[in-house]
């Protein structure tokens, strides 16, 4: 019951939105398409020493130095391989450009507010703070990631917490 009311509240707040759906292993995730700048292959990444293992390094995106984060490592997926299919989604968050490595990009989905369910409390690896909900589409479930919150969070170590910017 309470879920229904929550859903109704969210419906009042949001119109239907478009999401980019990508896969990590067997799971399907989605992020707000307005955050996505471009999609490119995984190549030419320069390793950064002493960085967390999910930060693969930095790459040159038309003259801009962009850090590359592998969400598969961050989410503790078992198989992490880099091949021709490995895709980097370049996103714009908090005035920064960041690339995230995923197993594949499937499609762009429009979700109506009714299709977005609140995320349950779970997960040590992925705190529900970083989720904007769960999308249900027929029999598929999409994990809607709040990419802003996730990438600027302390545990991602992407942003200088001490910086004066």
């Amino acid at each position: 019951m309470s879920q229904v009311t929550n859903g109704a509240v969210m419906a009042a707040e949001a119109e239907s939105r478009e999401f980019l759906v990508f896969s990590l292993g067997e799971e399907e995730y989605a992020i707000d398409i307005l955050k996505v700048q471009e999609i490119r292959g995984y190549e030419n990444v320069t390793r950064i020493a002493n960085a967390p293992d999910f930060i693969k390094g930095v790459t040159n995106l038309r003259g801009v130095i962009v850090p590359i984060v592998d969400l598969r490592i961050k989410f503790h997926l078992e198989s992490v391989e880099y091949g021709g299919q490995t895709v980097v989604i370049v996103v714009n968050v908090a005035d920064r450009v960041v690339g995230i490595v995923v197993d594949g990009v499937s499609d762009v989905m429009t979700l109506t507010p009714e299709q977005i369910k609140p995320a349950p409390e779970f997960g040590v690896t992925l705190s529900s703070d970083f989720l904007s909900g769960l999308g249900s589409l027929d029999d598929r479930m999409l994990v809607l990631v709040d990419i802003d919150k996730l990438l600027t969070s302390e545990e991602m170590a992407l942003v200088d917490s001490t910086s004066t910017r």
Binding site: A49, N50, G63
Partner: protein, 688 residues
């Protein structure tokens, strides 16, 4: 380079500042003014005044000065704003703009408008806050005979300055100020009336300008010795004479326009030359230039990729040879384009430094000091955006040094120093930064005085503060230890702006000072977009860049030269010197690197005055690289100062020598740092 080269820069800057000022004035909510906005308007006026003073545009300088005074009162809340006051300020801004145009066209600014606006502004000061600011201008009794002007000041070679109802404490300060203006012949009197006889080439106006910030103008009476008539009357008379046509270097001839309608006069004189004044340069936003630089970089990379493909073709047929010709042409054009684009941004520090001889000369002349200016590192190249933004803060710092730092020649002699003070401006690359220093051999800073002043201003200070912290106090808004506000400095706005500007560039200001020996103000700017001469090295399969300026030599270490020290430390003996060894593959966890030191190459580097031996696999060569900031999209990385993009489009990291050394120490202390504890590690490694 000639000072005239900077006129255009000043005109453009002043125009922007005026536009800013107008916008802020228009947005200002008179009933509930925003303090920050008032500050912004005030700062714009202050900056224009400073620039106008530097270039000798005295009419503009004086107009701005009066306006600035009013704005100062407004931002302190002593002047209650009304819509009609804002209108007057806007009008003043328009007149300043006309004056600016006049100077740009090398004409004399409109005297009529100048006097009218000065009069109006002073009237406001008088009506609203009950004080005269500089001196009342007599009603547009315009265009006095020019020959009267310069000599007028000299006529009053002896003045009697009477201070009425001035406390002893203030009096001492005032007399000190007077001593700076001229020779104090005699002084006597009591609190009610204290007379100082002053010899020198000073006008009553100057004296008032100096004093009116300490005491009210009514408390000063200035009489020229030998003519006995009433103080107040002579006051006005002198001022009206002084405020009449002011001779300027660029406009020595008197204004010809008869006193018609001021506005009309301004319009008619400004119009015909407008077209000629169109500037031959355009201002482009730095973002656009950056974008072009990035795109050209991509173009070069695409071109070398194509080049590779074409050279792989074995078929030497005719169609291929024309393709190859086309490719080599493309290559040349692309390189030329890149060079041309890069040159837009990079200019040597000389561009900044060359405006200082004039600044120093003028300021020193005004203050009666003897100063020798030395510049070092003029060829240090700096990004244009940084050059533009460093000029103003640097001017403030130089003036500050001249005004507060270097003592009067007589005092210097008494202290056993040479009469001529020395001011050194230097620029150089250091670590991942550009270091610009303003050094003087003056009085240095007085810790106690700064602390006392800070307490007076209600700042939170304690005696336990370090010297560096105490010196930083001068950057607090509104902080000034100068007892009087002069044309040169002392209003406390400068230093606050200096710090703001430098922080805005991602830099910092440090002050080193020794009482009696001088002050060294160091501006440390990040290298963003500066070009770096680098030495590329290889470790394992990875390429890194060492700043060439840090590299002293390289050699192949032998077993006999390596000594183990307590723990894991290793030192390398190079010509009787033991240097700490930093193995890059250990510090940066590079795999597949050469681990046997005798098989690797030791590069001797110097950072912050210390030398280290860095073990690398291979030296690749020297090249110029464009420095890219890592912090834009990522964060500070210990041991890495920045990144760059290599010819093949990949990213190479630029090493920070001292950072690497610190990192290797931290690593050794922590044992092998495990990758999944990065956050605590980062915190330890980050410099405060």
């Amino acid at each position: 380079m000639d000072i005239a080269d900077f006129f255009d820069t000043f005109f453009e800057e002043a125009e922007e500042l005026l536009a800013d000022m107008e916008q802020h004035l228009l947005e200002l909510d008179v009933d509930n003014p925003d303090g920050e906005q008032l500050n912004a308007i005030f700062r714009a006026a202050h900056s224009i005044k400073g620039g106008a003073g530097t270039f000798g545009f005295s009419v503009l300088q004086k107009t701005t000065h009066i306006l600035e005074n009013l704005l100062d009162h407004a931002r302190k809340g002593e002047l209650v704003l009304r819509a009609d006051l804002v209108d007057t300020f806007l009008e003043a801004k328009d007149i300043m703009h006309e004056q600016l145009d006049a100077y740009r066209n090398e004409e004399a600014p409109d005297q009529e408008a100048y006097e009218r606006i000065c009069h109006t502004l002073q009237q406001i000061a008088l009506d609203e806050i009950g004080q005269t600011l500089e001196a009342p201008v007599a009603a547009p009794e315009p265009v006095a005979k020019p020959e009267e002007l310069p000599s007028n000041e000299a006529d009053h070679s002896q003045l009697i300055v009477a201070l009425l109802n001035v406390s002893e404490k203030d009096r001492v300060l005032l007399v000190e100020e007077l001593e700076q203006l001229g020779d104090v012949q005699a002084q006597s009197g009591d609190e009610k009336r204290y007379e100082v006889i002053l010899n020198g080439d000073v006008s009553a106006d100057d004296i008032e300008a100096v004093m009116c910030f300490i005491i009210e103008p009514e408390q000063i009476e200035i009489t020229s010795a030998g003519d006995g008539h009433s103080a107040a009357a002579s006051d006005v008379e002198q001022n009206s004479a002084k405020n009449a046509p002011v001779p300027t270097p660029s406009a020595p001839e008197p204004v010809k326009n008869p006193p018609v309608d001021a506005k009309q006069a301004a319009a008619s004189s400004a119009k015909p030359k407008k077209a000629a004044a169109e500037s031959s340069s355009i201002r482009v936003s730095v973002d656009k230039v950056d974008q072009i630089i990035n795109l050209v970089g991509e173009l070069i990379i695409t071109q070398s990729m194509l080049d590779q493909t074409v050279s792989d073709l074995d078929d030497q047929s005719v169609s291929n040879s024309s393709l190859q010709n086309g490719m080599s042409l493309l290559q040349r054009n692309a390189r030329d384009l890149q060079e041309a684009v890069m040159s837009i941004r990079m200019i040597p520090m000389e561009f900044v430094f060359s405006r200082f001889p004039r600044v120093v000369r003028d300021t020193a002349g005004k203050l009666g000091k003897e100063i020798e200016l030395v510049t070092e590192g003029k060829s240090t190249e700096l990004d244009k955006s940084l050059v533009e933004r460093i000029t103003d803060p640097l001017t403030h710092l130089v003036r500050n040094s001249l005004d507060h730092g270097i003592e009067m020649p007589d005092k210097r002699e008494a202290l056993g120093k040479p009469r001529t003070g020395k001011l050194i401006l230097s620029a150089r690359h250091q670590g991942g930064n550009i270091l610009i220093e303003v050094r003087d051999d003056g009085a240095g800073m007085d810790r106690e005085r700064l602390l006392a002043k800070a307490r007076e201003n209600g700042l939170n200070v304690s005696d336990a503060m370090t010297d560096e912290e105490v010196y930083q106090l001068i950057f607090a808004p509104g902080f000034s230890t100068a007892e009087a506000v002069t044309d040169v400095s002392g209003r406390g706005v400068g230093m606050d702006v200096v710090k703001r500007n430098i922080q805005g560039m991602g830099g910092r200001v440090e002050i080193q000072s020794k009482k009696g020996e001088g002050t060294n103000t160091r501006i440390v700017l990040p290298l963003t977009l500066a070009i770096l001469d680098g030495m590329s090295i290889k470790v394992g399969g990875e390429t890194f860049i060492l700043p060439l300026s840090t590299v002293l030599e390289s050699l192949q270490p032998t077993k006999n030269d390596m000594y183990a020290m307590a723990g894991d430390d290793v030192v390398l003996k190079v010509r009787d010197e033991y240097l700490p060894v930093i193995a890059i593959h250990e510090v940066l966890d590079v795999e597949n690197a050469i681990t046997d030191p005798t098989q690797s190459i030791a590069v001797i580097v110097q950072g912050e005055g210390r030398r280290y031996a860095m073990l690398v696999d291979e030296l690749i060569g020297q090249q110029q690289v464009v420095v890219k900031n890592l912090e834009d999209n990522y964060r500070k990385v210990p041991g890495i100062s920045a990144a760059t993009i290599l010819g093949d489009g990949s990213v190479a990291l630029i090493l920070d020598i001292t950072g690497l050394h610190r990192l290797s120490r931290v690593k050794k202390e922590a044992g092998k740092v495990v990758n999944n504890q990065p956050i605590s590690f980062y915190k330890e490694a980050e410099p405060s």
